[in-house]
Symmetry: C2
Subunit: 389 residues, 2 copies
């Protein structure tokens, strides 16, 4: 049996998450253990709720980290809001829309979908058309940044449609939160979930969620218990609320880390952070283009923290990923679902989103790929930085 | 907004978990982030599965940590094995038996219970009697150490009954694992779950589970999908198996910590660790008795890592707990459920289970409680240590 744990390499994490973690956050992870009802821990919980409200752009009281990873947040929002036979409309243009559909189906919802090709946004007109066929839609679910394609979905028109049809709107903010504006209250989003390991640059392990008053009312008015005990927001909210009723033992260290990472986000400022993500993704995209590597996501709707690209025909995608990892210590992501073997997913999230990583990856790809010029790619990226000054 | 995170105190964690965490494990938590499909991380996953098999006493291939806390492990074992209308027998003599009943009910199981007073074991004869009324029991669920009362449940006869009735046996090992023998294969237990924050002395955040071949067959033969997507063992096992199919992003740092804590457990040796828990709990119990504080759990069936005691009539229980925390930095647990306000739960789990903590708590209680002698309590505990030499 080897002793791997002491040999963790320093990777540059440019995949779809986890992203690199700030040393302050890693240090927070190593703080002493305290109890889940310790007054100091309760203060950290309260502070985490406040900080999460800031980054979500909401006053929602019920804003907290679910004690599991991002997909558990997806399940928590859906399973608390859906009862068997509720009509639910899920927008599907990638893996995570498919996952939402699967969950709706498992919990007995009456599933309707609006589909778009992978790499294209969901057309609000298609949603409007679909809604004409559904008498009483309980909920509309959509992904803000589809991590399988790098599409950034506009939400304003979808939110208006949800309001017009008196449907709850659930938005997957796993990849978008802290990298591009997520204004729950302004948009009128009723429930959202995220993950800590993307643009928040915290280790994976928690899933921040937020529920509006309308969403809470929907939970209160359920005629059936939520099937999942662990994700039952009614019980979870009693532990995170004033009553402090024991539900489960919260992941203490992960909450230390979340606290520190959210403080770092707020110290930088959300607008500065969004601009940083836009700038570096533009430099990356232009540099990749100079290498003959083109983006999959529809122009005008490209996510600033995740760039999905088509693998050039003359290239063995897995071999290049392995070379990047083993020779350059750079991780990028493979394609998912229908894009398996055909795409790379390059993340510039949170701490990872830095000029040296953009330049480093372009240099590495320029060196690895046949008949490409690393120098030209780097120069193209530098032009973006120079123009932005 | 305060900066609590930098002011975490050094508590002595003598509640029902989390327990104190070894500095090596805290250090592991702060290791650099790597990807959830990084070859180094895949090695750590494999090693964690091997180490978990050792502590569970099993060869079960499907032995891994669920990416959430202990209660999610409870839900994972039950929701994967139960289909709607299955007859399920749950043994209830405390909060965690009640919780299992709740989950069985939520997932549509046909719930039967065998009850015992809190602080008493489940009588196998009661289980045998109940089974006479159930034509085809799919599953029997029981708690090994009931954390609300400190009862250690004997499992041999229950396991024989399960076998005789061709029912799956699910055992809650949250508090028992690594503190008292848990031999899944020897006993014929089909599914078990635990938590990392008890006798393993790892931070909370993961729930080790193990499923036998019979249990896996039951999952394969389901006619319905598992309702919970996040806890669907069929999908989870594909990520932890050779295929490495992406399911969710594993909590990387928590798996580093689990790895290190399991190595510490194995370095000490399971038998040595069990003896250590027995010795210190005996010293604690005798010392408490000298203070006029008596145990709740039935004699002969007292768990060696969790001592539940009745709060003396002349004592304000919450005030004493607060004094212990704020003056002595010692956390003990309050009573749960029907024992709320009437009991203290004192944990001696993993790293916490040390002579200085036993002596420290007895001294503190002797000082806080009226008309008690700390010196006498300490001497009584010391007698246990001297006799054991």
């Amino acid at each position: 049996m080897t002793s791997n744990n002491s040999q963790i390499p320093q990777r540059i994490l440019m995949g779809p998450g986890p992203s690199n973690v700030h040393p302050r956050v890693l240090e927070a992870m190593s703080h002493s253990m305290i109890g889940h009802l310790d007054p100091i821990f309760l203060e950290i919980m309260d502070e985490n709720m406040k900080l999460l409200r800031q980054v979500f752009g909401t006053k929602n009281r019920l804003t907290l980290p679910i004690s599991a990873t991002g997909s558990a947040g997806m399940e928590a929002t859906l399973c608390n809001l859906i009862e068997p036979d509720d009509d639910v409309l899920v927008c599907v243009n990638g893996v995570f829309g498919m996952r939402m559909s699967d969950i709706v189906d498992r919990y007995g919802g009456n599933l309707h979908t609006v589909d778009a090709p992978w790499g294209r946004i969901i057309d609000p007109q298609d949603v409007a058309d679909k809604l004409k066929d559904i008498v009483k839609p309980k909920l509309i679910a959509i992904v803000h940044v589809e991590t399988s394609t790098g599409i950034l979905q506009p939400l304003v028109e979808i939110a208006e449609l949800a309001k017009a049809h008196d449907a709850l709107l659930v938005v997957d903010c796993v990849t978008s939160l802290c990298g591009t504006p997520v204004n729950l209250d302004e948009l009128g989003i009723d429930a959202a979930y995220s993950g800590t390991q993307k643009c928040m640059s915290c280790p994976p392990g928690l899933s921040p969620v937020s529920f509006s008053k309308r969403a809470i009312n929907a939970i209160h008015n359920r005629s059936t218990k939520v099937t999942s005990w662990y994700l039952d927001m009614g019980m979870i909210s009693k532990y995170w609320g004033d009553d402090r009723v024991y539900h489960h033992t919260a992941p203490i260290s992960m909450n230390y880390a979340l606290n520190e990472s959210l403080k770092i986000v707020c110290e930088e400022g959300l607008d500065t952070r969004y601009r940083r993500h836009s700038l570096h993704s533009q430099a990356l995209a232009d540099g990749l283009s100079a290498l003959g590597i083109e983006r999959i996501a529809q122009e005008g709707f490209r996510a600033p923290m995740l760039t999905s690209v088509s693998v050039p025909d003359d290239v063995d995608e897995a071999k290049v990923r392995n070379q990047l990892l083993h020779t350059y210590n750079i991780e990028i992501g493979a394609g998912l679902g229908t894009l398996k073997g055909k795409a790379w997913r390059i993340g510039l999230m949170g701490e990872t989103c830095r000029r040296e990583n953009v330049i480093g990856l372009l240099t590495a790809l320029g060196e690895i790929l046949p008949e490409r010029s690393a120098a030209e790619a780097v120069q193209t990226a530098e032009n973006v930085y120079n123009t932005s000054k």
